[in-house]
Symmetry: C2
Subunit: 296 residues, 2 copies
C-alpha cells in the first residue's frame, strides 16, 4: 500500500541512516540504509536520502527534519552547535541548500559545552523527545552507545553533559587488542559483576585489570564469554565511577538500545540508583516531531 | 670481516627478531629482521633464525639462547612459565627439538603470577640482566612498552608484577578511534603535564577526559600535537596512579626505549619518585648471558 508522508523524520548518524514517513506524530512507514555520514561525500547525501524517501513524496513540497552527524562540519550542512545551558532544541535548524525541489530539508543543531569541552549531535533530539513525553522532568539522562552521554536536565534545559568513550573502547579492546584472543561470544553475569565492582570501588585499577583478562585466559583457560563480560564490567564500572557526580541521588533515565540500556540500569541498581528505560527510536521521533513544530 | 660466534643471543618478540653474535659477554655482530613470532608458523622459525645467523657459525655446534614470545604456546617451542616468587631466570630453558644440526637452541621461560593473574615473556631476561649488573639491588623495575610491566624485586627474586596495556591503548586510541582526527605528530609538554596531573590525582577521570581531546579540537581547534601529548599524559597518569603501590617510596629503575623511559622517569619525578634508566638492549644481552651460564 502506497504511503504519502505529511513530513519525514530522519535519524542520520555516523554509520546509519533511518527515515520515517510521518503523519503528525504517527509513523506511517520506515526505511533505512547503511549510508551513514562517514561514508558520504557532500554530493552523496541528497541521493542517499531521496533513494529512501522518494516513494513517500506527494504532489507538494514535503518537509524533512534530520538529526545527528549529518549536521557536522563533514556532514551535509553544518548546523552550528547551541551552547549549554540551553533547551535541547535551539530552534535554529539549518536548511540544506540546493536539495531536490520536492523537499525542504532541515538539520537540527547539536549542543556544545565550553568547559569541560564537550559536544553532542543527535542526543539533544532524544533528550527533547524524552522531555516532550515527560513534562517537568528533572534529573539525569544517560544515552549509552559508542560515545555514551550523561546529560543533566533541569527546567527543560540541558545544564551540562559529559561524554564517555566506553562503547568505542570496548570495540577496540575486544576486536583489535591482545584481548581479542580472550574475549568472545556469550556472557557470564558473575564475571560482569565482578569487573563492575572492581572498577566502581577502585576506578584506577582498570589500567591493570584489563591485561588480567588475557593472563587469566592463558593461565586458567577462563572462557571467552567470561572475558567479554568482565571487560564490559570493568569499562562500565570505570564510567559509572567517573559519572557518579551526575547520577548520585538523581532521577535517572536511560535512552538507548534495549539490551545496552538494561545493562546500564542493572549496574546503576547495584549502586542504589534506579533508572527508567526509554525507547531510543521513540524518543528520537518525538524529538524530531518537537523540532518540526519549531520550524517557521 | 667474517665473525665467528662463540654463542648467539636472540631477542625474539611478537613483531621483531634480533640476533647477536657473542664472545663471552661481548657483542661481535648483530642482525635483525621483522620475522616476529606473530608472523611465523612453527616450521618458519628455524629458517627465519638461520638466515640471520648462518654466517656466524663455526665448525662445531653453536649454542643459541633466545628470550621472548618465541617461547609462547604459539611460538617455536613452549617454554613453560616459572611461578613468582622466583629468580627471574628459572634455569629451565627449553631446548628446541629438530633444529639445524649446527646449532642447539634454548628458549628462556617467562614468569607467571597466579593472583592477580599475570604473565611476562622477555622482561624476566631484562630483569635478570639488570640484577646481574646491579648486585643486591632491591626495588621496582618498570619496563615500558606495548604492555608495560612493573616488577617488584627483592633478594634477587621477582616477588610480584603487574602488566598495564598503556602502550597498546595509546596506539588504538590515537590510530583507530575517533581521537585519530585530533591526535597527530609533535609534542606539547604543557598538555602532557596537564593530562598526567589530571589522572594522577583523579584516575577515574580518564573515562571522561579522553573524549575531551576530540571536543577540544572541534571547539577550540586544539593542535594535534597537544592532543597527542594530552592522550599520552592521561594514559600514563592513570597507569602511575594504579601502579602507585609498586613505586611509592621504592628504588625505581626503568628499562625500555630511551625516549619512552625518559617520559616515565620524568613523570615519576613529578611525584617525587627518582628513577634510574637502564638501556634495554644492554639488559637483554646481559640477561641472555646469565641464562647461557645456567645451561647444563
Amino acid at each position: 500500500m502506497a504511503v504519502t508522508a505529511e513530513w519525514i523524520a530522519v535519524d542520520w548518524g555516523t554509520s546509519n541512516l533511518r527515515a520515517f514517513a510521518m503523519h503528525g506524530e504517527t509513523v506511517l512507514a520506515e526505511a533505512q540504509s547503511d549510508k551513514g555520514m562517514s561514508q558520504l561525500e557532500k554530493a552523496e547525501f541528497g541521493p542517499a536520502l531521496m533513494t529512501l524517501i522518494d516513494g513517500w513524496l506527494g504532489a507538494g513540497v514535503t518537509d524533512v527534519v534530520a538529526c545527528g552527524m549529518v549536521g557536522a562540519r563533514q556532514g551535509w550542512v553544518e548546523a552550528p552547535y547551541g551552547t549549554v545551558p540551553s533547551a535541547p532544541l535551539t530552534g535554529n535548524a539549518a536548511q540544506v541548500p540546493g536539495t531536490d525541489a520536492r523537499v525542504r530539508v532541515f538539520v537540527v543543531p547539536g549542543l556544545k559545552q565550553a568547559k569541560p569541552a564537550d559536544v553532542m549531535r543527535g542526543e539533544e533530539t532524544q533528550v527533547a523527545g524524552f522531555l516532550a513525553k515527560n513534562k517537568n522532568w528533572d534529573g539525569v539522562i544517560c544515552l549509552p552507545g559508542t560515545h555514551t552521554k550523561w546529560v543533566h536536565v533541569s527546567a527543560d534545559e540541558v545544564i551540562s553533559f559529559r561524554t564517555f568513550m566506553t562503547g568505542e573502547m570496548f570495540a577496540l579492546l575486544s576486536g583489535s587488542s591482545v584481548l581479542q584472543h580472550s574475549v568472545g561470544e556469550g556472557w557470564d553475569e558473575a564475571a560482569f559483576e565482578d569487573g563492575l565492582g572492581t572498577t566502581l570501588s577502585r576506578p584506577e585499577a582498570i589500567a591493570a585489570e584489563l591485561f588480567g583478562i588475557r593472563a587469566s585466559d592463558l593461565l586458567n583457560a577462563t572462557p571467552a564469554a567470561a572475558g567479554r563480560a568482565r571487560l564490559s564490567g570493568l569499562l562500565l564500572g570505570a564510567e559509572l565511577a567517573a559519572a557518579r557526580p551526575y547520577w548520585l541521588g538523581q532521577n535517572i533515565a536511560v535512552i538507548g538500545d534495549v539490551g545496552l540500556s538494561e545493562v546500564y540500569a542493572k549496574a546503576l541498581k547495584t549502586q542504589g540508583g534506579f533508572a527508567t528505560i526509554a525507547d531510543c527510536q521513540e524518543m528520537t521521533i518525538a524529538g524530531l516531531t518537537a523540532a518540526r513544530n519549531l520550524l517557521g
